[in-house]
């Protein structure tokens, strides 16, 4: 039988031992004890982020973001000549986005091969970034955005959006604005902004039984929402409330991202000494 030696071959079906834990013994972060579990963070607080630009030397632009234990790295290649010549749309550049989750990034081991879920994430990233990039300035070319999620401790897609736009800006791609991402989880009446993995996958049913997750991408300078994705059960009112909370979260992180970009520009081209 031909065996692929590059990949670890486990049994056809294997399960994480966590599944066999007696139910209830798993540590659950309920909405009430957020303050005790996660420093002094309130429900509407986002995690402090650490962001740096220009760490991948081979890429035109790159960025790294850390929020709590969520770690995302992104590199941007291009603009370069587009590969496919049969495209009718040659007046504008083409943006390509690729999101990958490292196999060890989640609790459950993932696959190296990109699955349907990752393709869906890539599409969300692409649609969130595209309104922010001046693609008409790059005719006949393509810009590739590669995101790698190193560790998933919740809200990784939102941070991937922020990280990707940082990398695009670092690559010198012309943009209208930095696209910021923010996620929220709603369980019952409580909105948890920028949830951790434990909060995202909290299995304790809330009294009303309604749970939902929301990811939003915003361009703060223009107040335009470029990406929105929500799933679960929610009322229209609570959905609007969660979306507003996410937008606030984006505004909170905006100065941090601006500082990071300023720092990287200063490093690349130090101001003339006078």
């Amino acid at each position: 039988m031909p065996v692929d030696h590059r990949r670890i071959r486990g049994p056809d079906e294997s399960f994480s031992p966590r599944l066999f834990l007696p139910s209830g013994s798993a540590k659950c972060a309920a909405a009430e004890d957020r303050r005790s579990g996660d420093g002094a963070r309130g429900n509407m607080d986002v995690r402090a982020i650490f962001a740096r630009c220009g760490l991948v030397s081979q890429a035109k632009g790159s960025a790294y973001i850390e929020a709590g234990n969520t770690k995302v790295i992104c590199s941007v290649y291009g603009p370069r000549e587009t590969e496919r010549r049969d495209e009718t749309e040659m007046k504008r550049g083409k943006l390509l986005a690729d999101v990958r989750l490292a196999p060890f990034s989640c609790r459950k081991r993932g696959q190296w091969i990109q699955g349907t879920e990752e393709k869906d994430l890539s599409q969300f990233l692409l649609e969130s970034l595209r309104p922010g990039v001046l693609l008409q300035k790059y005719p006949r070319s393509q810009i590739e955005v590669c995101v790698m999620v190193l560790e998933n401790d919740g809200a990784f897609l939102a941070h991937a959006v922020t990280c990707a736009s940082l990398a695009l800006a670092d690559a010198g791609i012309e943009m209208y604005d930095v696209v910021m991402g923010c996620a929220a989880r709603r369980s019952g009446d409580a909105v948890l902004l920028d949830p951790t993995f434990a909060e995202e996958h909290d299995e304790h049913p809330s009294p009303s039984g309604k749970e939902s997750r929301l990811t939003l991408a915003l361009m703060p300078a223009m107040n335009q929402v470029s990406g929105l994705q929500a799933e679960g059960e929610m009322d229209a009112e609570s959905l609007v409330e969660a979306a507003r909370a996410c937008m606030e979260g984006c505004y909170k992180l905006y100065p941090v991202v601006q500082q990071t970009l300023l720092k990287s520009v200063r490093k690349k081209a130090p101001p003339p000494e006078s």
């Binding site: 595209r130 470029s226 979306a243």
Partner: protein, 291 residues
């Protein structure tokens, strides 16, 4: 996606029409096109439905198979969605051309159904941790004329309404081995409760307004659309933005309101229609694919 080329003059015409709440085919901004629904169209499935919305044609077949429950959810069955874009619809879908659209559609369907309310997954469990019903929902696009999401969701609701799962019971022998026994009577079956199955409403932003059920021409004039899945009670189960443009927050909130209102209004006549069709029984005149 299947697209059409629209000239600048046509765009202006459509934009101005939408501004005055009069669309190219005479509809208002919140009106659907004429819709035909027929269930039980494919005899080899456990439930099927065909929906045509304008010139968009969708066929959905549901097949129930016995499978193993997911290890994380041992006492639940599950649904699998697959959307096939047939090359009949447009030549662009030939070969692997329809794959991307099919993946986008099926991924969205998973999201729409990823809650505890839509379908009672516990009722699909046969024996916890060992056997459960897996419902394979296969969607086939026969014609594309815009607004595929809405047509697909209506067809899925109709097909699930039509789905009959054979009754089984578990017998245990002396050694503790379990065996599944299928009922002898083919009419002895379980029905799904589809009351809470959501319908998708896609709203296209055209100019400063948004329209329901956009045709391909109208879609070409819009830069962004918002998909909203609602149940008959108005609970939203999925929201997603599609398209290359961005939306301002206020218009998103407006669109959610509209989507909820239109979605709620869509459910009641749909359920009535399905029940009426079923009550006709064998007397019903089958239309099939030539209608």
């Amino acid at each position: 996606m299947a697209t059409v080329q629209v000239s600048e003059a046509e765009k202006v015409y459509i934009l101005h029409g939408v501004r005055d709440d009069l669309r190219v085919d005479g509809r208002g901004c919140e009106d659907y096109r004429h819709m035909d629904i027929e269930t039980d169209v494919v005899s080899n499935t456990d439930g099927s439905a065909k929906v045509s919305l304008g010139y968009s044609d969708v066929l959905v077949g549901v097949k129930a198979e016995v499978g193993k429950p997911r290890p994380a959810l041992p006492d639940q069955g599950y649904l699998e969605f697959f959307v096939d874009c047939s090359a009949n619809a447009t030549p662009e879908f030939e070969g692997r051309g329809g794959e991307e659209l099919g993946l986008e559609l099926s991924n969205t369907l998973y999201k729409v159904f990823s809650n505890k309310q839509s379908v009672d997954l516990h009722s699909l469990c046969i024996s916890p941790g060992e056997h459960c019903w897996v419902l394979y929902v296969d969607v086939l696009l026969l014609q594309c004329d815009g607004n595929l999401f809405d047509a697909i969701s209506i067809a899925i609701k109709a097909a699930l309404f039509n789905t009959r799962i054979p009754k089984v019971h578990l017998s245990e022998d002396e050694e503790g081995g379990k065996e599944i026994e299928l009922s002898d009577d083919p009419y002895d079956c379980v029905r799904l409760n589809v009351e809470n199955v959501p319908c998708i409403v896609t709203l296209c932003k055209i100019g400063h307004r948004h329209v329901v059920d956009a045709t391909l021409q109208e879609k070409a004039c819009s830069v962004a659309s918002l998909l909203i899945a609602t149940t008959h009670r108005g609970t939203v189960t999925c929201v997603r933005k599609f398209g290359g443009g961005s939306l301002d927050p206020e218009s998103i909130f407006e669109m959610i309101e509209t989507g909820k209102r239109v979605g709620k209004a869509l459910h009641t006549p749909l359920m009535e229609l399905l029940k009426e069709e079923e009550s006709l029984g064998k007397k019903r005149q089958k239309v099939g694919f030539l209608g």
